[in-house]
Subunit: 386 residues, 2 copies
Amino acid sequence: MQNFEFYNPTKIIFGKDSISKLSTEIPDNAKVLLLYGGGSIKNNGIYEQVKTALSNFEVVEFGGIPANPEYEVLLKALEIIKTENITYLLAVGGGSVIDGTKFLSSAALYEGVSPWDIISKFIRTEKGMPFGTVLTLPATGSEMNSGAVITRKETQEKFGMGGPGLFPQFSILDPQAIHSIPKHQIANGITDAFTHVLEQYMTYPTQAFLQDRFCESILQTLIEVAPLVLENPYNHEAASNYMWCCTMALNGLIQKGVPTDWAVHAIGHELTAQFGIDHARTLAIIAPSHYRYSIESKKIKLAQFAERVFGVQTGTIEEKATAGIEKMEAFFHSLNIKTKLSEYTSEYQGVAERIESRFIARNWMGLGEHKSLTPADVKKIVEMSY
Amino acid sequence: MQNFEFYNPTKIIFGKDSISKLSTEIPDNAKVLLLYGGGSIKNNGIYEQVKTALSNFEVVEFGGIPANPEYEVLLKALEIIKTENITYLLAVGGGSVIDGTKFLSSAALYEGVSPWDIISKFIRTEKGMPFGTVLTLPATGSEMNSGAVITRKETQEKFGMGGPGLFPQFSILDPQAIHSIPKHQIANGITDAFTHVLEQYMTYPTQAFLQDRFCESILQTLIEVAPLVLENPYNHEAASNYMWCCTMALNGLIQKGVPTDWAVHAIGHELTAQFGIDHARTLAIIAPSHYRYSIESKKIKLAQFAERVFGVQTGTIEEKATAGIEKMEAFFHSLNIKTKLSEYTSEYQGVAERIESRFIARNWMGLGEHKSLTPADVKKIVEMSY
């Protein structure tokens, strides 16, 4: 186990009908900017619940934050924060709205020339404008961590940002939120959370026995509840487990003391940028190829995954490792998530080379838990995913 | 899964040689009261490491906090806090020193007549004097929660206290601390953490699949590393897992969304009060009897425990449940922890009646996850443990 630091001050308010608790979490005299996405919250009752809970506050609204929150859109919200003297932000949405809100939390208190500095100069946010969240789409874990991914449309790039000042003060998780989520988005959420765990688990053994088992616990639970929530999102127990798994998959806990990979995300982001494929689906495309390509360095954990998560008891380490990848693919397929790029687009030829070039053009740091994957390796992994 | 709230802002600094990070966690101008126990930290090098890390601070010391921290002793430390204008507390020790420090954190800012009010009137501490901890004995989890147990000697009673103001600001967990811990204390720590998990797990099923698996993860890991740390406390990987398991067993996470029991602790405290038996050993005495007595209501979880933690695959629910209790006893015995009261004292006759009387004399709320155990039930459980 490696040395680590763990800190996560976000208060989680979890359960049925918990949105009404909003009012006691926001300071009495706050002027609130309510941030949301495409407006689905106006159709599923969540908007009404939030407005009722905020009835004693002065509230300004900003809707329309898109999936993959765009810097240009967020600048308009930043303008409102300044002109309206907003003191508190409330994100009502999924990972995109919450990530966008984190950027705004940082930018609202940033004293430099341009808020783009926060991203381009990798400025770690020590203190942001306080904010809370009401989670409407379990997937990214952003409701209980201090990181965000912001998109700049003109360059087709996604940029990470974060810092200890960007934890939500509170996050409200009502599993009833999933009642109205389209099935393909629930499948995306499960795939996203599942892959978040894999990025922190599928590396090499470090005798972090507890962390390994926590990872396997989340994976097993997602596998157990996935068919239940997809069949019936009103299954409250299944929905609750799905929602809590997504949060625990990326709130920092399971990554402590262990190496992490994140190559699947780095490569997957490129497929979203080039083809507009849903984030989660790009992960399901890349993960199997990455694990096959890197099987020599990952085979012990892949075999452990096959044994403990899927009950594969026979075979050599190599056979179990291969079985683990196949079981993972079969799980994605069971969610109706396709795992080959050619199943999403017919224009995939040449993309491996284009991604290789884009990676070469950056200040390349290496990918994977050993930082050993080169742009040429990435090219091969993408080709394997065709 | 039940509705829940989770909040835990303690920063964990975990790993080899982490005590030196103390200085950056305490505010620059703090006047620190360094609190410790019987003085073992002066023999194992930890005192020196702490003093070195604190070299730029004004530090006053208070040693001698006993196991089961006593109110009367703590009042002397409180006097020092006031006369010396202390602004920050640093607990260096195990659960007793940390619990005592939590009482002092609360009492230092208490504005009422007597600090005893905090305990006798169940006053929840919303704000305490800030404090950090350096953990020297993994067991109680107090380093990452907001609760404490304080003993009043004259009445042979233990009282719980707590509140959101009593989380340590930081806790430093260096697994090297266990190098010098006597074996029987390591065995106690493992037993304490193991039973903490059981109190939050061994109830009835609530479809909290993730919480169940997290509990089983901690139990399995403790079982895996127990023989390793007992054989060689210098086994850093085993020590790290042991230490992290103890913290995760009682930092609030695994109890969220599920019923909890805590009858084993309530009854065990009485055995410590009457016979001075180590806290952890009283848990190993009571747990098997409690689970046998309550097998009808706990058998589903007992069987799940037998299956998932100990690999018991055959038998009826009842047979698996019984096997689970036997495997648990065998685990305690493997730590050289005896599980019968008569193995600790020859003067056990009549204690069941005495405990029954003491429980009757209190404002009885019922014990167990259903609050259904009466003093008469407790009497029978204690008799079964003879």
